[in-house]
């Protein structure tokens, strides 16, 4: 039992493999660029969803972008994230193209953001897995 009593979601798999395999995308927004059709894809995939090519190259996308869709903040708890309310989940268009669905951090206060607000990536603790290990990854913060 860890000494700091953080909420741990019991529905998650008893494995760290998935989180480990996807860490480059979570830590540094690493996705792929299709060398056949040129599409930029995030998160990374094995086969291009546009032209079915396997000729993909790993690329780190821009860590800045703008909000393109901002639904109402989530005030009811998602399993495993009861302590983080309210959750502001928005759709972000990164400066070099791809779209990312991400959460906003609580400071600067995201209360008055709208479509077009500039954001930058922040490295944060996302959750703890069932077996206790921490999963880190991207969130976004508003830049004035």
């Amino acid at each position: 039992m860890p000494s700091v009593p953080e909420k741990i979601c019991r529905m998650m798999l008893h494995s760290t493999v998935k989180a480990w395999r996807e860490r480059d995308g979570r830590y540094r927004l690493q996705g792929v660029v299709c060398k056949d059709c040129g599409k930029k894809i995030f998160p990374a995939v094995q086969i291009c969803p546009y032209c079915h090519s396997k000729n993909l190259e790993k690329t780190e996308f821009a860590s800045t972008g703008k909000i393109v869709l901002s639904p109402e903040p989530l005030w009811y708890p998602l399993t495993g994230f009861q302590e983080l309310l309210p959750q502001y989940t928005v759709m972000i268009e990164l400066d070099d193209g791809p779209f990312v669905c991400a959460e906003l951090v609580h400071y600067p206060p995201p209360a008055e953001f709208k479509e077009g607000t500039r954001v930058e990536m922040a490295f944060r603790k996302l959750k703890r897995e069932d077996i206790g290990n921490y999963v880190y990854g991207f969130k976004f913060r508003i830049v004035e």
Binding site: S3, E60, Y107
Partner: protein, 354 residues
């Protein structure tokens, strides 16, 4: 060639709790004592999703940005902290991948309570000096708040923050002239295996001068002797800051003027940031330092030890872009009440399950 600082970065979590707020809950202190005698107004609290690792990444990114350096060019990352999220598993490996540094970078976690950050600096200095790394990141990061027992008098200053120094041999903004250290077995503040909260070895150890004042004085005097200098030869002096008053007490006893110390003062507004205390203080000084000026830095870690080093600011300092400045980071804040702080720091019992 001299080894020195190429860039620096700081991160302080934006949530602040005023000392009055803690006082209203516990009634175990008074405003006159904390404000006027200890020079402490408020201190920082980590958000839910922040810890030693995330603060380190933020500080390191700021340092890289200032030096206009790609993460791929880093050769060493040493992360000093006394409050790592994992007891076994390096935090520095997460910082390495979060920054995108090469996998063959020399990395490790180092722990020497409050001076962990300057111990990381020593290691990086040695690696750069020995040409094992071209650019080395020394990070000090601590979240003391989460490891301080509610109701403890240390709850007033126990804070969180991170500072990062990027060391190298070219494009230096400050050269490291000399380094000294002084260590002894002094159990003043410690945290045992399995313990969540840190323990104080009694007032005789903490409030007397056996810890912070004695070790810092010994290290600084040794350094002054080595360099053949006097306190007045320095433009700035940066000391470990438990309270806002601590650096002045140590500085005065060593013969420094208050005007040499006050530019580095951060503890009155952010509290004791542990391993990052002197690194943030130094960054605040470098924000306003002019070419040719001399800076003395002396950290302190419970247990106990002090590292003192002397820096000389170079002409390059005029051309670096400091964004954000330490002042701006400290001023970007939002106040929370005691209940929110207790929630953010998870100062409650959980019986388990969903």
């Amino acid at each position: 060639m001299t080894v020195g600082i190429k860039g620096y970065g700081v991160y302080v979590p934006p949530f602040r709790i005023k000392v009055e707020e803690i006082m209203q809950t516990w009634l175990n202190s008074n405003p006159v004592f904390l404000h006027d005698m200890m020079n402490l107004k408020e201190r920082a609290v980590c958000d839910y999703d922040e810890d030693v690792i995330t603060m380190s990444v933020d500080a390191a990114k700021n340092a890289l940005k200032m030096a206009k350096l790609e993460a791929k060019e880093i050769g060493a990352i040493f992360l000093g902290s006394s409050t790592f999220p994992y007891v076994m598993k390096p935090a520095s490996s997460i910082v390495l991948e979060a920054l995108g540094a090469p996998n063959n970078t020399f990395i490790s976690d180092v722990q020497f309570s409050g001076k962990s950050g300057t111990v990381a600096l020593q290691i990086c200095l040695a690696l750069v000096g020995q040409k094992l790394a071209k650019n080395a990141l020394a990070i000090g990061s601590d979240n003391l708040s989460i490891h301080t027992e509610p109701g403890d008098s240390f709850e007033y200053p126990a804070s969180a923050g991170a500072g990062a120094l990027l060391l190298g041999e070219d494009n230096l903004i400050a050269e490291i002239e000399a380094l000294e250290t002084y260590n002894s077995d002094t159990p003043d503040i410690y945290r045992l295996e399995g313990d969540r909260y840190l323990t104080r070895g009694g007032d005789a150890m903490v409030e007397s001068n056996v810890g912070l004042p004695s070790h810092t004085t010994n290290a600084v005097n040794k350094l002054l002797e080595k360099l053949g200098r006097e306190p007045k030869d320095f433009d700035y002096a940066v000391f470990h800051q438990t309270y806002g008053v601590s650096p002045f007490i140590i500085g005065r006893s060593l013969g420094f003027q208050d005007s040499q110390i006050s530019p580095s003062l951060i503890a009155d507004e952010v509290g004791d940031t542990g391993a990052s205390s002197v690194l943030i203080g130094l960054a605040k000084v470098l924000d306003e330092a002019k070419p040719g000026q001399k800076i003395l830095v002396a950290s302190y870690g419970s247990g106990a030890g002090s590292d003192a080093f002397a820096l000389k600011v170079t002409d390059k300092i005029g051309s670096v872009t400091r964004s954000p400045k330490v002042k701006d980071i400290i001023n970007a804040k939002t106040y929370i009440n005691y209940a929110t702080y207790a929630k953010l720091d998870r100062k409650y019992q959980r019986t388990g399950g969903e």
